[in-house]
Symmetry: C2
Subunit: 259 residues, 2 copies
Amino acid sequence: MTENLSIIKIGGDLVNNDTVLASYLEALTRIDTPKILVHGGGKQATALNEQLGIASPMIDGRRVTTKEALAVVTMVYGGLINKNIVAQLQKYGCNAIGLTGADANSVVATKRSPIPIDFGYAGDVKEVNARFIYGLLKENILPVFCAITHDQKGQLLNTNADTMAAEIAMALTTYYKVSLFYCFDKRGVLYDVADESTLIDQLNTGTYTKLKQQGKIHQGMLPKIDNGFHALTNGVDTVRIGNITMLTQSANKCTQLFL
Amino acid sequence: MTENLSIIKIGGDLVNNDTVLASYLEALTRIDTPKILVHGGGKQATALNEQLGIASPMIDGRRVTTKEALAVVTMVYGGLINKNIVAQLQKYGCNAIGLTGADANSVVATKRSPIPIDFGYAGDVKEVNARFIYGLLKENILPVFCAITHDQKGQLLNTNADTMAAEIAMALTTYYKVSLFYCFDKRGVLYDVADESTLIDQLNTGTYTKLKQQGKIHQGMLPKIDNGFHALTNGVDTVRIGNITMLTQSANKCTQLFL
């Protein structure tokens, strides 16, 4: 029987609050299966950009990664957040290792074409070195990825953390039965973001397409859901979106995606 | 016959200049033996401290690592410098991985006692996980360490990079015949810092003690030399201090330490 593997992506809002983050990390260590953590960054990078007076241009609601912004992201995601998560996990007796995609060539990306829109140093994942990651898991080491990749030509690239998690999940299906968890502060995908009782506990592609056309899915959820369906189509066994309790309480409601 | 291993520590001044750093990294990739890189940080952390208005107190000529300064060091050494070095090495086809001591629990330290002097979040190396590092080297992966460690209780600690290199070198003698190289911008230990022709090409403990008593050794060299002798006393085969050419040109003059 193929062994289970959990890929857990935790979002920016969770990472910004030390107490919330600590409870997530503690919950993580209680998951029995091998696991991989992928984290976003969010507010801390924005705050440092502001402190340093670095402009942070947006096009079509998406941030442009200038050279200066990439340096900040590398410092905040790759250094501050990543290494503090690793140190916290070590405290809980969990042997974590912090990685960018450049480390051991684990996640290679291509710089996004500047045409039609130049998003700067943004990378789209090209290849995941599943063999190396598998080797770590076999040694009982928990890989903690921040969403930075490289192009094998010396350039680091800022990458979407939801996509990074999905790509790693897909690549690891060679070795494991993979479950992908998108963790954030809501119970899952909601009809009404302000009302947690409006949870959609099962979402298939047909319903998703309809709801999206009707504008009933919150904009911020689209990357998670799109990446989640992409992962399901490419061999990942289950994709769930929800809050911390879905990691530790099996009866807890969250949103599960179905093709 | 035991295999050779080179531990190369590159100092702050080299790391601060992109062109110089690139030539070092390129030279590194031409060394045939397995190798480990340890880098300092220096000016970039100081510059970020200044930009952010973070005080950087000194006691007895040594910097105190406040909580805020530790965050900066974690960003600059653990993120910006470390990940850019890794990406550059990957460009040269060298499969590098960037690490702090927290990663895979590779270097554990103890927070320095606040008595008699409180240096803040400064760590003294307690244990090096040589087995993990050996496993990477066996996979043809080049570990790149920044001088940050952890205490296994969730705390990252700022550590002297010369000491970190010496401790890693000593720990790896279990598996290899180890050569330790302290690389900086001079040809080695000089009688007169302003005159490269005054190189001391061989330095033993007796001569060192005398020269130190006479105040003839530049203050900045003491940690390298002290750590170097400590390494030699603890099984490291050779310790050399010099510039980039000692890595690639065997006939080049540098300072070699002898007990």
